[in-house]
């Protein structure tokens, strides 16, 4: 823009440049000396300043994983890129660059302060991921549409905004508009918004804001509804009985059943169908309620189990902690005693004694752990048995209910067949009803055709019911096995961790003892 950036060669962000910057901005004095001695890893750097470097392209920043503050102002950057890895970034300064569009910020969910001052941005967007945004500086850009401000309404924490130097800021209504549409804003263009101003703005734009609010609320409530429905469905799925609280299964039986739909037009069939549907739905509802109840039961079982196991582990931990605390008290004393001891024989005796103490602690801790493992194993096995029984019972009962469905279907099939044959006979006799639909007529040619049609419909229905049953059974079983597996695996993991922890601790103690010995031998 008005800066003569051409006068200098554009530079590339490379390793050397970054190292230099890190070195310059690192710790000072004694700490700096240490830092130089050891070298600083990029991932330990929390804040980095790269201003006035004539950088054209953001690059090589992926190593700075933990960076929280990044200054890239006064460069000639044209595109926001290469920042995807810096997810901990809180503070980002990109002012005085040549950026034309906001982009590449979708991963920076922790960003609170964003400065894009003095760029070439004409539209505010792509900021959706920045839910924590508090300060946004967009002055000296080319934003020309007031509607951009409405976009900013989604940032609930936004308190400071600067837009001066944009085309929209020249409009008379600019301030009022911003104040009215962003009521939570405290500072606009580095000035505090006074209450009087807020009131005026509110009254001026009241109607349009109310409308906007109404629309937002509607969207919000719709979203919430959907969420609630989703949750409900999830709950049902967890109970393996989703969509069974209505005629969903029944309807699905007839969606692919061409013949069945045709046959429904036979006289007397529609009534039959209605009665069939009612009974079927009642059974479905039974399954559904039973499923939910069983789910509650399983949940309760699981909760009790978890609680008990947690308690046991907690108690065991307390015991372990107590042991260690006791040991440490003693340990401090004996360490001091060993240090003070001058006579060699005594010294060695004490060392041996201390080593014994450590071994004893190890034994005690390991015994505790083994005890817990045994106890838990017993409990887990018991739980496993119970939960498998529960699931088996559930499956059994559902199966019996499903069998009822099948019976209904068979019954319906027989009735339908009877009606069909009667109709066929009538047709063959020439005693035809006038109102028989045209697409039904081809079915009533001879006995085989109609038999086949009705049979096909029956088969489809049975298949649907079987499928639903199979799905339920497999899912329930797999849930059960998965649960049991996880519990076992978790227990094993826990045991491993604890054993490792104990070993680590004992090793540390032993090392300390060894070093003591060594130092004394040297002395």
């Amino acid at each position: 823009m008005h800066r003569l950036y051409n006068s200098l060669e554009p530079r590339v962000m490379d390793e050397d440049m970054l190292k230099l910057a890190v070195g310059e901005q690192g710790p000072r004095e004694e700490a700096g000396q240490l830092a130089r001695q050891e070298g600083i890893l990029f991932k330990d750097v929390l804040s980095l300043r790269l201003d006035f470097q004539n950088i054209l392209r953001i690059d090589s920043l992926w190593e700075f994983e933990n960076l929280t503050k990044l200054q890239l102002d006064n460069n000639i950057i044209e595109k926001i890129e290469g920042l995807e890895q810096l997810v901990h970034l809180v503070w980002l300064d990109l002012s005085f660059n040549n950026i034309e569009a906001i982009e590449g910020l979708d991963t920076l969910v922790n960003l609170e302060d964003l400065s894009l001052f003095n760029n070439r941005i004409s539209k505010i967007d792509s900021l959706d991921a920045l839910v924590k945004l508090q300060v946004l500086s967009l002055g000296n850009n080319q934003i020309g549409n007031m509607m951009n401000i409405i976009y900013l309404r989604r940032f609930k924490d936004l308190r400071t905004l600067s837009l001066s130097g944009n085309p929209i800021a020249e409009s008379e209504d600019y301030k009022m508009f911003v104040c009215a549409y962003l009521p939570d804003l405290v500072y606009l263009d580095f000035h505090r918004i006074d209450d009087h101003m807020k009131e005026m703005a509110e009254s001026k734009h009241q109607y349009s804001i109310d409308e906007l609010k109404h629309r937002e609320n509607l969207i919000q409530s719709r979203l919430e509804d959907e969420q609630a429905q989703q949750e409900e469905l999830e709950k049902h799925k967890a109970a393996f009985v989703e969509h069974l609280n209505g005629s969903f299964l029944f309807d699905s039986m007839y969606t692919e059943d061409v013949e069945g739909n045709k046959l429904a037009y036979l006289p007397g069939v529609s009534e039959l169908l209605q009665a069939y549907k009612d009974k079927f739905v009642i059974i479905c509802l039974n399954i559904f309620e039973y499923g939910l109840k069983q789910q509650e039961k399983r949940k309760l079982e699981l909760d009790t189990f978890n609680e008990c196991v947690q308690e046991a582990i907690q108690e065991n931990q307390e015991q372990g902690k107590h042991r260690i605390a006791k040991f440490e008290e003693k340990h401090l004393l004996s360490l001091n005693a060993i240090r003070d001891e001058s006579e060699l024989t005594n010294f060695e005796m004490k060392i041996v004694e201390y080593g014994k103490d450590i071994m004893e602690l190890f034994n005690v801790l390991m015994t505790l752990e083994m005890q817990l493992v045994e106890q838990l194993e017993e409990t887990i096995n018991m739980f496993e048995r119970n939960i498998i029984d529960l699931v088996a019972l559930f499956i059994e009962n559902v199966q019996s209910l499903m069998a009822q469905c099948r019976d209904l279907e068979n019954h319906h099939h027989e009735k339908l067949l009877e009606i069909s044959i009667n109709t066929l006979e009538k047709i063959l006799k020439g005693d035809v009803d006038e109102d028989l639909p045209d697409d039904l007529r081809p079915l009533f040619v001879d006995k085989d055709t109609i038999f086949n049609a009705v049979g096909a419909s029956h088969d489809i229905h049975l298949l649907k019911i079987d499928n639903r049953e199979d799905e339920l059974v497999t899912r329930a079983n797999s849930w059960c096995t998965h649960l049991v597996d996880t519990i076992h695996k978790n227990e094993i993991m826990r045991n491993r961790r604890r054993v490792k922890e104990i070993n680590q601790y004992i090793d540390h103690m032993q090392n300390e003892l060894d070093s003591l010995e060594c130092s004394d031998v040297i002395d």
Partner: protein, 870 residues
Amino acid sequence: MEVLKEKVEEEAAATEQAEVAERGEKLLRPLDARREEAPMTQEMLRDLEKKLSEIEIVVPEQPLTFTKDSIDISKLPLSYQSNTLKEEHLLQVADNFSRQYSHLCPDRVPLFLHPLNECEVPKFVSTTIRPTLMPYPELYNWDSCAQFVSDFLSMVPLPDPLKPPSHLYSSTTVLKHQKGNCFDFSTLLCSMLIGAGYDAYCINGYGSQDLCHMDLTRDVCPLTMKHKEMVREEEKVPSKKYAIKPPRDLSSRFEQEQEMKKQEEMKGQEEKQRREEEARLLEVEKAKIDPLHGLRVHSWVVVLSGKREVPESFFIDPFTARSYSTQDDHFLGIESLWNHKNYWINMQDCWNGCKDLIFDLGDPVRWEYLLLGTDKSHLSLTEEEDDGMNDDDDVENLGKEDEDKSFDMPPSWVEQIEISPEAFETRCPSGKKVIQYKRAKLEKWAPYLNSNGLVCRLTTYEDLECTKTLEIKEWYQNREDMLELKHINKSTGLNIDYFKPGHPQALRAHSYVSMQPEMDRVMEFYETARVDGLVKREETPSSMTEHYRGRSDFLSYRHVDFGPRVKKLSLNSAESNPRPMVKITERFSRNPKKPADEDVAERAFLIQEERIQLRYHCRDDHITASKREFLRRTEVDSKGNKIIMTPDMCISFEVEPMEHTKKLLYQYEAMMKLRNEEKLSRHQAWESELEVLEILKLQEEEDDAHTLAISIYDTKRNEKSKEYREAMERVMHEEHLRQVEAQLDYLAPFLAQLPPGNKLTRWQAMCIKDECLSDFKQRLIDKANLIQACFEKETQELQKKQQWYQENQVTLTAEDEDWYLSYCSQAMFRIRILEQRLNRHKELAPLKYLALEEKLHKDPRLVEFLKVFV
């Protein structure tokens, strides 16, 4: 029945005679008292008589008799001095009732129906009760009411411990003199309780010796009794389905049993010893048997269940304000009871004290009533049964027969009971009261009576004779430093002061042996009132421990160890030469925002060893915690460069080793931070020490010169507001005077001379004006003359004196000369003043005259006439 009726008529005819007879009977009462217990043998009677005579000597020794001489009868209202018609009628009814009663129950004591009041007028006992609701919210509940009565009145024993008194004074008189016997006590208490809505009754009955003499020396002081800890049994949680099984117990059961047996044996022996000890103690404490047991007349109050949510009937002893169950051993029998509406006689046998009595006043078999038609009739029996029983028992119909059914109790003759706020606050007579309990003495004072705010002191003794003090508890009120209770344990020398919220340093309790700094003490604080959240500070001569709660930096504990003080030559006070700190240990509670590995749980600064030890919090699922130890040595390496940081300066154990913590830079920064924090901790510890000194100083000052805080609502004591109020009143008064003066009509005397009713004529108006003016002129001249006369008199006298002085100058003594000189100067002063006044008068007189003239011109009554004239 018929016979009875006739008898009634007969007796009604000869009321006068009967009355006389009854009086006579009253005198014979001691006999009745003895007759009360029928199965007594002659020997016992004699024995009793003997003992009785022994006792009689003791009673008059009590100097606190409440004589009538001290009461000014003339000032009492009319209702005290005479009976209304209705009251007379009631007395007749009562007499009649009494006669029938003595006829039917000849072996019982005459009734206590109408003792004389302070004006020697017989008054029925029920009318002496004046139900009053006191204007003090404190007196709304029975316990505080009883406490007040027992505090406010001092006890006077009955003139004859075996008889009810001959006089029963009104509660107003009793309150005025602040003393009375048990009947006065219970009448007053009953009036207050009934006023507060309780179903309360006065009882005339028999009590134990302790009760009648208000002797609490064999009772344990209620204040010393420990509150029984409500031991709430932890509800056994039903063992959950998946609770783990405990590890198998491998110890021998036989050995356990043997151990148990041994212990039980030991316990049994101890128990036995203890029981023997207790028995011995009881023996000592047991009082000698009272020869008059069961004959001592006492009066107390019973509160029946039903009203004011009283769940169960109970007795209140008005002397001690204690409540007793109706089964208590102290109460040995009831003759009769009454409230402001009716009078009941107990027809139940009292062989077992009051234990078997049933307080169903509607049951005429058990309680014979005097007046019919009161609302007290919750008899549980059915009507038929009732009638059947009536036929058996002729006592039943005593009350019903002889009076018209609509007769009810006349209103009380007693004036409204009033207690002034001053009296209410002072409570005890002259503001002080002492009660002797078993092994304890309780002293009470009115607030503001003691200059240090002491209101109550409880002294507990080791022995029954009260010679060895065990501990002293002192309660304070209105202290500016909010001291509430001082607990001094004499055996250990430990003092504990308890404070109410509001102490400048938010002190809650302070226990100490000596007030010297750097000694053993424990201070507790109101942590919410303090910025630093300090809860408790414990001190020993070489350490100080502080506990905190609710701090934003999660500090919960700080322990400072001090070394011996280094002798300094220059200054040697505690402030300028603090003890060197050896070790500071600080503990922090878990900060949920930090991961456990970075959240320090305990850090110890070993100051002299230049060592810093850190222990981190334990992770939720771990049993070991990270540790780190910094050695702060500043060393120089072989080349002479200062070593900033070496790996052996930081020894650490990490539960889960992390990469960045291994770096020297990290360790260096951590150490630098810790060094700063060490300085801060040292400073805070030093400040704590200073604070202790300050608190001690404050307490000392407060003990030396105590000022009591006065509530702004306390209009009597708040001097400032009192002054202000008085000033306001004075101003108001002056204003009022001025207004009165302004309203003084200067024309009134002149207008009065004119014939009334006529309208003023112009001539008259002129006359009045002139007269008024001339009158005023005359007054001014008179005044001037008066001053002149005074002046001349003074001068003459002075001249005379001077002459006398000059004549006798030679013979005068020094005293006379002095006297003369002082007289001269005084006389000169007077003369000068008079002269000034005269001059002033001369100046002002014309002005005043003109002012009056002006005023007259403007006077609304004269103005129209004068205007025309002018």
